[in-house]
Symmetry: C2
Subunit: 292 residues, 2 copies
């Protein structure tokens, strides 16, 4: 027996305001606005409180890291409780001197910190020097029972790994969130559309393969060498894009998601029924070297 | 150091000719035509020698099954050798009395049978009663070194499982082939475009996630309750559709694939480098039951 359950999902797409204080202030304003428009679960962009500082390898940037719980989660947990919204808060986490993660905190609608996800797949390519800053996560892939839905969080580069989406969905997530910082450098302007298409396609495919809703939140604006392409979007369990934000401007998307679509979709195309878990051991290997 | 390697891939999209003899004859003609247009690796549609007989559960249909090697592979291996083409031949395999598989045979350009793949994920939903006919495969996911490229074969329902594409790519496949029989029933005409979009999206995502070329071959025409939607296509490692066939008519696609794009794509977005094989054990489970 299915119960109708509709959730209002808010995605906040912003541009960097130059410093942690203004970023936090503006984000609080945007959360208020999203909540006033009915949003119940609100996701912020990756490393929401700063610029995307990974364009260079500079030890001074470690000063941007903060503990969890800490000042940002304190302020935002109060706001979550007051507005009765669930928040997904992506932060630069200081775990110990010399040990930092790219992390997302999930706060329930009563202000409780439900837990954190530490980015498991860390990229490293020109202007995205994340391996210098972030220790690969040790949380594994998980989901969190919030007041309004069971949700999973993955971060940016995780997008390209079907394993991450699958494991999070198998843990019961109804909605996958992907806080993100992705854009292009001038040299790649010609292939930007192709990149952005691949970026949306791979995420829509996770929604399809797992029969879940999926929300991706990207930033906008030019920061040093990168133009972030925005286009935050939310997909239904069939891979259809329900709403998509601007590629240049800040925007708040608030979208109604009927969670009963999850079970309907999975009953129509029952992929979970037919997985061959007896034959997937090779996924735990880097490569299956061909011998013939 | 990379060597330029371009391969001509042929996809043969047909409609059922009513009986195994005419289907084999017409397929041989189409293979000749594809080869004359330069095709070097040619993929046929799922269960190419018959109608899609799984719309009912009828033991009489087991008479359509054949041994491998057998008459069809004999004829086609001779043709492959004469034309110097690689063939992917999807057949209803009789392995033993009472034991049948949905199988694809790979024949090299000298007529050698390189091996077979037995469909691992078996669907079962109204008018697609495959669990009645086909024992789930025991081959696992593999690839085959042919004269022109290293290729992997997966079959239809496998399309929806990222695990299958990943494992086949990890075994070294440069091109994934998906012989297919997918279509819609009249009651679903309104959601057909949505279904067909999801079908293409999930496969493009496998090309993206794994940095491989991917060719899907579907049939066309109305058979009993199903209208097969054709749209056979080939995607590059970035998920871009290089060529797509009609949704109603038989068609032969011959597409040039520059295999050096595989390594270029993977160097640009190095997903294989960053997989968290230490954290994927849960993929070997049916579900990760949430406890909170």
């Amino acid at each position: 027996m299915k119960t109708n359950r509709t959730v209002q999902v808010g995605l906040i797409q912003r541009s960097d305001q130059g410093a942690p204080g203004p970023n936090l202030d503006q984000t609080c304003e945007k959360i208020e606005e999203a909540a006033s428009r009915g949003a119940q679960i609100i996701c912020l962009q990756e490393l929401f409180q700063s610029n995307y500082f990974c364009q260079t390898e500079d030890p001074a940037h470690f000063d941007l890291a903060q503990t969890i719980p800490g000042p940002a989660t304190g302020t935002l947990a109060e706001l979550a409780a007051r507005l009765e919204v669930v928040l997904i808060i992506p932060l630069f986490e200081k775990r110990s001197p010399g040990l930092y993660h790219n992390t997302a905190v999930v706060v329930d609608a009563d202000g409780t910190l439900l837990g954190r996800y530490r980015k498991m797949h860390i990229p490293d390519d020109p202007c995205f020097y994340e391996k210098f800053y972030f220790t690969p996560g040790d949380t594994g892939f998980r989901s969190f029972q919030t007041r309004y839905a069971r949700i999973g969080v993955l971060i940016c580069w995780d997008q390209w790994f079907p394993e991450a989406a699958r494991l999070t969905a198998l843990s019961g997530a109804e909605i996958l969130f992907y806080p993100t910082a992705i854009g292009f450098q001038e040299a790649d302007r010609g292939v930007m559309e192709k990149q952005a298409s691949a970026w949306q396609t791979i995420q829509r495919s996770h929604a399809i393969a797992n029969g879940v809703f999926l929300g991706a939140v990207n930033r906008v604006g030019v920061e040093d060498n990168i133009t972030f392409w925005g286009r935050s979007f939310i997909s239904d369990p069939f891979g259809e894009v329900l709403a998509q934000a601007s590629d240049t401007d800040p925007e708040i998307l608030v979208t109604s998601c009927d969670l009963t679509a999850i079970e309907d979709t999975r009953q129509g195309w029952p992929f979970f029924r037919d997985r061959r878990v007896d034959a997937y051991q090779g996924l735990n290997q880097i490569f299956l070297d061909p011998h013939d």
